[in-house]
Point group: C2
Chain length 361, copies 2
């Protein structure tokens, strides 16, 4: 391509008869621009085939060796430490290879997108790492469209009814395999009525963890498929909701074990299970397995599913370097090696150590 | 000062007959330089009164609006989330005022210092925020000497026998006031034999928290001063060590309450207290108070001392801006407003809710 004729922000501004700031806003913060102006600017962008940040980046000879990462709001819960552990691992990985991590915060996806422009143009960030991907994620769409190198921790979740998601590099952990391993571990100890306490439908990682439990229950042939609905609770994350869900399930379905979508839910279930155990003549305590292997799980002897976060950070950074160096697949089929699903590991502890009580079934 | 005659890195290199890199190493990573070369370079630095980064910074007209912060290694424990919460708050504070946070990692203080040079000269970081200060901290010494703006979360702890510490801007939380409030809270509920489970001597914040307990016990006049040693355990942080220390204290000193230096220690003490409570005829459970108000404390109903982290981040960033703008006190007495000791807050929960059992004393 002839760089002399590559359109610039100025070219677009002149042709659309607006300021440079307005062009920038139209691309980065369209809600700030009046609809008719926005339409005119975007028409010129399309006509000239202007590619903003991507174009600027391709012309740039020196890389900043800085990658941007949005620090998610502090989750005031037990599992909130998970992304912080990924951040630690990523920062160390990056530094070992001569890169630094620059943080930013944003209230939501749109606010995150609104910051990409400044981070790329003013602070000259080379690439981004995204966390907490979800279906119809506008961030990956924006970065792909603008030709900005990025990798996500979290796969490109498919939307139920829409077109296939944007193809991009990602690393994720196989949550369904984790809950499946939890069920298999409990079946080995003689459990048959294994309940699942998870989140409401619609969260991609939550649905995935429930699917793993469901698949393993069917495979183990320990419960009638249609009885599984009665063994499954859908509640918001938290110790209190986990405890209440466990109470209800014990009353309605008499499970001997709980698999939970998080350590917070599992801690609640464990409190209920222990109180319930003391109330029964035999003192049997329902087994509990959590998810994420948080410090709390280690502290209270809770069996949990551990995500390989250091491995995930290492793989994510490797993929990001490929992106920065322009080694992006050119065909849809070429993405396979750039989309890495890691296996979690079950960490057995006291909360699932005892064999299941012998029941009538 | 006449900038024309200000010595540069090149001036020093030429005078000492070494490369620019060697001068940089002598200042930033002296262990990489042969002793005789190091001595020669440092002699020239002193002779020319060369001020490396500080000088470069004063000449710089454009600020980067980037501040550097070392991400501490992940502490695989319950209290490890504390500094991450400070990081979140600081990143948000900085962003609201047009600054960004760049992360780096380092194995120890010397490794951290070795990175300051690159961060200042190559990445043009404007200033630093330091965490986990301690007595004889070489990092604050280095930054002060080089005229680099910085603020610490953690006070300038005085060494027992040496000169007063380097004066600098800091924000800290009054740990002794926190443990004192814990004792007063327990005394109000009728406790007299209140034990303390803390860390081994020599950690500044740990010694401070123990001092608060000691001071409050003397003030409340509930135990003979010389009996206090028998009510005090010094163990490494952790749930297991907290549990073991509580066992020993219950056997030797029969406390009715524990004040702990961390939520990890407190969780261990709580496990022991509950087991012990079930073993006594009356079923009385020893009260427990933790420190840092972690998610675990909220989950298990543990009374704990909360640090005002958002306030700390806001004050720290305000002090840092003063530093960046050159508003540093010129006399020792002028530092008062730049050294901010915030008060923690006791959050009472179930673990200290019951009144003390009536004992023989």
């Amino acid at each position: 391509m002839n760089d002399v004729h590559r359109p610039t922000l100025e070219t677009v501004a002149a042709r659309a008869a607006v300021s440079r700031q307005t062009v920038s806003n139209a691309l980065n913060a369209p809600h700030l621009v009046r609809p008719e102006t926005l339409a005119r600017v975007l028409a010129v962008v399309g006509e000239l085939e202007y590619r903003p940040h991507g174009a600027a980046r391709q012309l740039r000879t020196n890389r900043s060796h800085v990658i941007g990462l949005r620090l998610e709001p502090t989750v005031d819960g037990i599992s909130g430490a998970l992304l912080d552990r990924f951040l630690h691992a990523l920062t160390e990985q990056a530094q070992q290879r001569g890169y630094r991590v620059m943080l930013f915060t944003a209230a939501d996806d749109d606010a995150e997108i609104a910051q990409y422009g400044e981070l790329l143009d003013v602070l000259q960030v080379d690439a981004f790492v995204l966390t907490s991907t979800h279906h119809d994620d506008p961030r990956t769409q924006w970065l792909s469209t603008h030709g900005v190198p990025f990798v996500t921790f979290g796969r490109a979740w498919a939307s139920g009814d829409a077109a296939p998601p944007v193809q991009h590099a990602w690393v994720d952990v196989d949550g369904a395999a984790g809950t499946q391993a939890a069920v298999e571990h409990l079946v080995e100890r003689g459990h048959r009525r294994i309940a699942f306490i998870g989140w409401p439908d619609g969260s991609d990682s939550g649905d995935d963890r429930r699917a793993g439990w469901h698949r393993a229950m069917i495979a183990a042939d320990v419960a009638a498929p249609r009885s599984l609905d009665g063994l499954c609770a859908r509640v918001v994350d938290g110790v209190g909701s986990g405890s209440a869900a466990a109470e209800e399930l014990l009353a309605s379905a008499e499970p001997t074990a709980f698999v939970c979508a998080s350590d917070s839910l599992a801690l609640g279930a464990l409190v209920t299970a222990r109180a319930h155990g003391r109330a029964t003549p035999s003192g049997e305590v329902t087994a509990v397995v959590g998810f994420d292997d948080t410090p709390v799980a280690r502290a209270i002897g809770l069996t949990s599913v551990a995500q390989p976060l250091i491995d995930a950070a290492e793989r994510a950074f490797g993929l990001l370097l490929s992106e920065v160096h322009g080694n992006r697949p050119r065909s849809a089929g070429g993405w396979a090696g750039h989309q890495v699903l890691l296996q979690p590991e079950l960490v057995p502890r006291e909360s699932s150590a005892r064999p299941a009580p012998r029941g009538p079934d």
